[in-house]
């Protein structure tokens, strides 16, 4: 339930961002530039997003008896009851240990895992978790960072001291320990993990936002707004925050991959989200020590993870180049 709300929130946030971008010619131009520079990486990210979206639309069939779970569009797209008894190698006709014939010989492109589930399907379904972790965490941590950073940078003085104390305290604790402690306290589950990642991860951007606000506060157009009698809150919302948006976008894209990787680390510690690539990798660890080794599980999850991270990083790099005011000036 919580997970569904999270997905809905993400999709809404995405739509809002798209609307905002579509309205402003400045952002539209940046979008065009991005498409020109990184068409392939953007396509890959879009593919992952499409798969994740397909996997997010699910419903329960009520015909027949027995226990039913909601099956997503992605699962339905695969042949019904696409399961074997146990391990099988990619494109094999027989089971890996024992040699019993498979029910769907030759159709498991990436083989099956110990429960006989198709590895390709598992790897594809991991995209949903990955995007959820990256997106929802950013949705939590970026507003938090903006609130604290802008408040500290704009008000200065006592507020700045308090925020500085909080951020320094957070930054001085070992990140992983804090993360583990938070997940333990909040309980397991996708939203809980995102909250934990968000609460531990906002410090860096808060500092960036603080510094930038500090600079913006003294700029002529903020001074001019003040000289016009614009109320302080309005100055912040209209003249300061919109001028931080390029940093928000850059931070979002550049930290996205880090968040997905953090989830993988949590999974490795047994605290991750069910169905994530991290969990697949964690489970596949032991399988490597079998004789002969089961390698396709680990490979599929790692490759899927690698593909997304690489594409997101490539896009992030380009986004930074396009939106960073320094490179903007060089191009102008």
């Amino acid at each position: 339930m919580l997970g569904n709300c999270a997905v809905a929130a993400l999709v809404l946030a995405g739509l809002a961002a798209a609307l905002r971008v579509g309205r402003s010619p400045l952002w539209r131009q940046a979008g065009r530039e991005l498409r020109r520079r990184r068409p392939f990486a953007l396509l890959v990210v879009a593919l992952y997003a499409a798969i994740a979206l397909l996997d997010s639309i699910a419903w329960v069939d009520h015909e027949g008896g027995g226990v039913h779970e909601a099956r997503s569009l992605l699962v339905r797209a695969f042949p019904a009851d696409f399961r074997e008894a146990s391990y099988s190698a990619p494109l094999a006709d027989v089971e890996f240990y024992g040699g019993a014939p498979l029910r769907h010989p030759g159709s498991h492109w990436l083989g099956t895992d110990i429960l006989g589930r198709d590895v390709l399907l598992q790897a594809l379904r991991g995209a949903r978790v990955a995007l959820l972790v990256g997106g929802l965490t950013s949705l939590i941590s970026i507003p938090l960072a903006l609130l604290f950073g802008v408040a500290a940078g704009y008000r200065g003085g006592r507020v700045d001291d308090v925020v500085f104390f909080v951020t320094s305290t957070l930054a001085s604790m070992p990140g992983l320990l804090l993360l583990v402690a938070l997940v333990m306290a909040l309980g397991r589950g996708p939203v809980q993990v995102c909250i934990a990642l968000g609460v531990t991860g906002w410090v860096g951007f808060a500092r960036l936002a603080r510094g930038e606000t500090f600079k913006l506060r003294e700029l002529d157009y903020v001074q001019a707004a003040r000289a016009l009698g614009v109320p302080e809150l309005r100055i912040v919302l209209r003249h300061v925050v919109p001028n931080l948006m390029h940093l928000v976008v850059i931070t979002f894209v550049l930290t996205f991959s880090g968040l997905v990787l953090s989830e993988a680390v949590l999974s490795w510690l047994g605290l991750g989200i069910d169905g994530s690539w991290g969990q697949m990798i964690d489970q596949a660890r032991d399988e490597l020590s079998r004789e002969p080794a089961i390698w396709w599980n680990l490979t599929a999850a790692s490759a899927a993870l690698f593909g997304l991270i690489l594409a997101v990083n490539l896009v992030g790099d380009a986004v930074r180049d396009i939106l960073d005011p320094r490179t903007l000036r060089e191009r102008a």
Binding site: Y221, Q223, G229
Partner: protein, 324 residues
């Protein structure tokens, strides 16, 4: 003539090595409706800080320590924050030096003018937009209706400064404070903007406080001139008197160092020494270490105002000359 601006004994200070250091020290100014007063001085003499303090915009950790500022009859230093906010823009508008950075880069310029109009008057967005277009036309922006939708980066420096002026005029202020409005512009654009300021003052009857270091500009637009040195006004007078018959040795030195007035080929006369920085001001008259007419009292006592017909001077030498 109504008095729009009256400043008495204004002190603005910043924390320095030995306690608070004044950057503006016991400054007096007055300005009537329809008049243009030019505040002239070298860099670092405190003229920009004076301009900011007139709207209580002195950046922290600076603050106004003493004095009285009255704008259109209201005692600025006694106002509470919300009343002060209503006064800003409405009674006094301000134009800044750098048109390149004085407009919010992510907002269309029209939106910024509309914001300024709606801050002080209850009008609808459409009505405000119509008024914004009128203002654009008034300040000489071609195709005003289309330009409303432009972003600042799409406009030239001169156009941006016109937009800034339109914003400053949005709430029909009684006083316009222009802090070096033409320094960042090309010479031809400078002339246009100055002409615009002159026209606006004539049509609206507002008072203009023009802060500049350019005596050429002073000669073109000012009615009265106040010369600042090391945080104080040292000489005030009507433009003709002051530019023609300056009495203070500093003003005389400034006027002599204008290239156009010096004989061709001769070395340009300069004022010996350099401007003392705030906190290192000498005792007595602050100009005495560089003054050609220095004598004993200059080193000990700060000179008071000496009134002359059409001008006032803070100088011991002038006072002695007058007494004898």
């Amino acid at each position: 003539m109504t008095r729009v601006l009256e400043v008495e004994g204004l002190v603005v200070s910043f924390p320095g090595e030995h306690g608070r250091t004044p950057v503006v020290d016991r400054l007096d100014l007055e300005l009537d409706a329809g008049d243009t007063l030019a505040l002239v001085g070298e860099s670092g003499c405190g003229k920009s800080m004076t301009a900011l303090s007139l709207l209580r915009l002195v950046p922290r950790p600076g603050r106004i320590d003493a004095g009285r500022i009255r704008i259109d009859g209201e005692d600025l230093l006694a106002l509470r924050v919300d009343a002060l906010r209503r006064l800003r823009g409405h009674k006094a508008g301000m134009i800044f030096q750098e048109p390149m950075t004085s407009l919010n880069p992510v907002l269309r310029v029209g939106a910024q003018v509309v914001e300024a109009i709606r801050l002080h008057e209850r009008v609808g967005v459409l009505e405000a937009r119509r008024r914004a277009a009128e203002l654009f036309e008034r300040v000489g922006i071609p195709d005003p209706a289309e330009r409303l939708d432009a972003y600042p980066h799409e406009l030239s420096g001169g156009m941006k400064q016109r937009v800034m002026i339109a914003i400053a005029l949005a709430a029909r202020p009684r006083l316009l404070i222009a802090d070096e409005p033409t320094t960042a512009l090309d010479v031809t654009i400078q002339a246009q903007v100055l002409e615009l300021l002159r026209e606006l003052r004539r049509d609206t009857g507002m008072a203009v406080l023009l802060i500049t270091h350019d005596l050429g500009i002073v000669n073109e637009v000012a009615d009265r001139v106040a010369v600042m040195y090391a945080g104080r006004v040292v000489e005030v007078g009507a433009r003709e008197t002051l530019l023609g018959a300056a009495r203070h040795p500093y003003t005389q030195g400034l006027l002599r160092s204008i290239p156009a007035l010096a004989p061709r080929g001769a070395r340009l006369p300069e004022i010996p020494g350099s401007v003392p920085s705030a906190g290192a001001w000498p005792s007595g008259c602050r100009f005495h270490p560089r003054c050609p007419r220095v004598f004993d009292p200059c080193k000990q006592h700060d000179p008071d105002w000496t009134a002359l017909p059409g001008q006032r001077v803070r100088c011991h030498a002038v006072a002695r000359e007058l007494a004898s």
